[in-house]
C-alpha cells in the first residue's frame, strides 16, 4: 500500500468507528480488511468482515441513530471517510447517487434473511436436542 494513497491507514486492531457513537460519516474500505462487531456486556461478537470497496457505517448516517456496531481494522487497512453533509447534498441534487447504497443495503437484507433462516434452523435443532441458546451463542454458532 502506498503511504500517500487516499484515505487513512488504520493499524491492526485499531477502531475505525465505535458502537454507540453518533455517526456523521460513512466509510469505504480502500485496501485491506475490517471486521464489524457487536459489543454486548463486555463480550465481542464478530458479525462479519468487509473488504475492498465495501461501504460501511451508512445506517448511522441515514437513521440519525448511534452506530449499531464497531468497525475494527484486521491487519493494516486503508479507509476513506465520506462526509454526511456532502453525501446528502449530492443525493439531493442527484438521487441516483443512492442507487449503489440501496443496492448494498438490499444485498445485506438478503444476506441477513438468509442468515436468519439458517439461525432458525440451528435454534430448532438446539431446541429439539436441549436448552435454547442465547442470542450471542446463536450468532457465534454461525460465525
Amino acid at each position: 500500500m502506498s503511504e500517500a494513497a487516499l484515505g487513512r491507514y488504520y493499524a491492526d486492531g485499531e477502531i475505525v468507528a465505535r458502537q454507540g457513537e453518533v455517526g456523521d460519516c460513512m466509510f469505504i474500505v480502500q485496501d485491506g480488511e475490517v471486521e464489524i462487531l457487536l459489543e454486548e456486556h463486555g463480550t465481542e461478537v464478530v458479525l462479519r468482515r468487509a473488504g475492498r470497496n465495501e461501504v460501511l457505517g451508512e445506517m448511522a448516517v441515514f437513521e440519525h441513530a448511534p452506530r449499531s456496531a464497531t468497525i475494527r481494522a484486521v491487519g493494516r487497512a486503508r479507509i476513506l471517510t465520506l462526509d454526511k453533509r456532502n453525501f446528502m447534498r449530492r443525493i439531493n441534487e442527484d438521487p441516483s447517487l443512492a442507487f449503489r447504497i440501496i443496492e448494498i443495503m438490499s444485498r445485506r437484507v438478503r444476506d441477513l434473511s438468509h442468515e436468519v433462516h439458517e439461525l432458525q434452523a440451528v435454534v430448532r435443532e438446539r431446541e429439539a436436542s436441549g436448552p435454547a441458546a442465547t442470542p450471542a451463542e446463536r450468532v457465534a454458532t454461525r460465525g
Binding site: L6, G7, R8, N53, L80, T81, N86, R100
Partner: protein
C-alpha cells in the same frame, strides 16, 4: 475493447420523432477524457439497472497512457475531496497507481508568512494525478494515467473505444446526428455527447449547426512539470498542495502540486505567458518550498491550455448534449468535479427522461444552471481573495486568523473558507456565506489592530518557515 469504426446506421427501425433511448439505441461520445468516460460509465450502469440494451461508442484518437503531450489532457491534475468521495460511492475506484499522491493539507504562502490548513481526521482526501502518462521525459511508468483509468472503467462497463478523430457532426435527414471520422462514412446516432474539452477546433463547427450552441469563453492557464524525484518531494512539499497568494501583476492564482516524481505548477492569471511563469518561479516564497538547488529552468514540459471561465449558454439540443469543459464547468477549480456532475446529469436525463431538447432543458440544464449560478458567487468570492492578494494588511490579518484557528484549535471558520476556496470542495455560495459570517467578520475586526501594528513594521526577508 478497441474497435474499428462501426459502419451500420443507428436503429433504422425507429421513427424520427422517437426521443427516448430504447433497446438497440446507439450513443456516440466524442472525447474519452473524464467527462466522456464517466458519462459512458453512468449511462451503461443506469441502462443496466432498467434492463435497457444500448451501445456506446467513445471516439478518442489519443492513447492517454502515452507520456508527453500526445497523451495529456493538460490540467493541474487535482481530484477534489468531494469528487474522491462521490466516485468512491459510485464504485469508481481510484487505484493507488493512479493517485500519485494523496494530499492531506494545503499550505498557503504569502509574502508575510505561511500557514498549513489540514484536512479533518488527518486523512488523505485529495488526489494528485497525471491526466496522461506523465511528462515527456518519463522513463519508468510507475503511475497510470487518470484519464486512461477512467476510460478503461467505461470499457469494462461495455463501451467501445473508436480510435479515430471526429471530423464532422451534422444532422441527418431523419433528425439524428451523424458522426464522420477521417476517411469514414457518416454514421447516425440516437444521441451525440460532446466531451471534447475546449482545446479543440471541433467545437467551432457546432456553432454553425443552428442549435444555439456557443463555445465557452476561455482564458489561458500555464502548466509546468518539474522532475524532482519522490524522495525530494517527500522531504520538501510533502503531502500538501502549496497555494500562493503573491502580489504579482497579472497573477490570479498559483499552486505547486506534488505528485509521484514530479511537481506540477498550475497558474491562472491575466494574459498568462512564459514570462509570468518565470517571474513566479523566481519568487523567494516559491524557492523556499522547492528542494534546495532546484533549477526553475529545468522543467520537464510545459503547456498553455485554455480553461473554460464562462460556459456555453445552451449546451444541449435535440439528441446532442455538451458536458464537461465543452459545456459548463466550475470557475477556476474542480473542473473534474464539474465533468462528473454534468456527465452524470446528462446520463440520468438520457436514460430516464429522453434525449430531446426539452428533456435536456428540463433535467440536464438545472445542474448546469446551478454551476453557473454558483460561479457568479464565486467571481465575487475571488474578488475578496484578490483584495487579500493585493493588500498586505489583509494578508497579515488573514494569516493571523487562520494560524490562530489551526494552533488554538478554534472553530476553523476562515480556515475552512480558505480550504474550500483552494480545493474547490464546496459550492461557492457556501464558501461566500461563511466568508461573510458575522463571526468571521468579528474575528477580522478583532485581529485588525494587531495586523496594523505588524503592517507598520519594516518588511523582513522571507524564510522557509511554515507555521502549522
Amino acid at each position: 475493447m478497441v474497435a474499428q469504426l462501426p459502419n451500420i446506421s443507428a436503429s433504422p427501425d425507429k421513427r424520427s420523432d422517437d426521443v427516448d433511448l430504447v433497446d438497440g439505441s446507439r450513443v456516440a461520445v466524442v472525447g474519452g477524457g473524464p467527462a466522456g468516460s464517466l458519462f459512458s460509465h453512468f449511462l451503461l450502469d443506469m441502462a443496466g439497472r432498467v434492463d435497457l440494451r444500448i451501445a456506446v461508442d467513445i471516439f478518442e484518437p489519443r492513447v492517454f497512457a502515452q507520456p508527453g503531450p500526445a497523451g495529456c489532457n493538460m490540467c493541474g491534475g487535482i481530484v477534489s475531496e468531494t469528487l474522491v468521495q462521490n466516485l468512491a460511492v459510485e464504485g469508481v475506484v481510484l487505484e493507488t497507481d493512479v493517485v500519485q499522491r494523496g494530499l492531506d493539507s494545503y499550505q498557503l504562502h504569502t509574502d508575510v508568512g505561511s500557514v498549513r490548513i489540514a484536512t479533518p481526521n488527518d486523512e488523505m482526501r485529495i488526489g494528485a494525478v497525471h491526466r496522461g502518462g506523465g511528462p515527456r521525459d518519463v522513463t519508468e511508468a510507475k503511475w497510470a494515467s487518470f484519464d486512461s483509468h477512467l476510460l478503461d472503467q467505461a470499457v469494462e462497463r461495455g463501451a467501445t473505444v473508436v480510435k479515430a478523430r471526429v471530423e464532422e457532426i451534422v444532422r441527418g435527414t431523419d433528425g439524428r446526428p451523424t458522426v464522420t471520422v477521417k476517411g469514414g462514412d457518416p454514421v447516425a446516432y440516437d444521441l451525440v455527447v460532446v466531451a471534447t474539452g475546449v482545446n479543440t477546433s471541433l467545437l467551432k463547427t457546432f456553432e454553425s449547426l443552428g442549435i444555439g450552441y456557443t463555445r465557452p469563453k476561455v482564458t489561458k492557464t500555464l502548466i509546468r512539470e518539474y522532475h524532482l524525484g519522490e524522495e525530494a518531494i517527500n522531504a520538501s512539499l510533502g503531502t500538501s498542495m502549496h497555494v500562493f497568494l503573491l502580489n504579482m501583476p497579472r497573477l490570479e492564482f498559483a499552486a505547486l502540486i506534488p505528485k509521484g516524481d514530479y511537481v506540477t505548477l498550475a497558474m491562472l492569471g491575466e494574459d498568462i505567458d512564459n514570462a509570468l511563469g518565470d517571474e513566479f518561479a523566481s519568487q523567494p516564497e516559491v524557492r523556499a518550498v522547492m528542494p534546495p538547488g532546484w533549477d526553475p529552468e529545468a522543467r520537464s514540459c510545459q503547456c498553455l491550455p485554455h480553461m473554460n471561465v464562462y460556459g456555453s449558454e445552451k449546451p444541449y439540443a435535440d439528441r446532442i448534449v455538451f458536458i464537461g469543459d465543452s459545456g459548463i464547468t466550475r470557475l477556476y477549480k474542480d473542473g473534474l468535479g464539474a465533468a462528473y456532475r454534468t456527465a452524470k446529469a446528462a446520463a440520468r436525463t438520457a436514460i430516464f427522461e429522453g434525449v430531446s431538447e426539452a428533456a435536456f432543458r428540463d433535467h440536464f440544464m438545472p445542474v448546469c444552471r446551478s454551476i453557473q449560478g454558483d460561479n457568479r458567487i464565486g467571481r465575487f468570492a475571488f474578488v475578496l481573495t484578490r483584495l487579500a492578494q493585493r493588500m498586505r494588511i489583509a494578508r497579515i490579518a488573514l494569516l493571523r486568523i487562520v494560524r490562530d484557528e489551526q494552533e488554538q484549535h478554534r472553530t476553523p471558520r476562515l480556515s475552512s473558507v480558505m480550504w474550500d476556496m483552494f480545493s474547490g470542495s464546496a459550492p461557492y455560495r457556501d464558501i461566500f456565506g461563511r466568508m461573510v459570517h458575522p463571526a468571521v467578520i468579528a474575528r477580522g475586526i478583532v485581529t485588525m489592530p494587531g495586523a496594523f501594528v505588524e503592517w507598520l513594521r519594516p518588511r523582513r526577508p522571507q524564510g522557509k518557515e511554515v507555521d502549522s
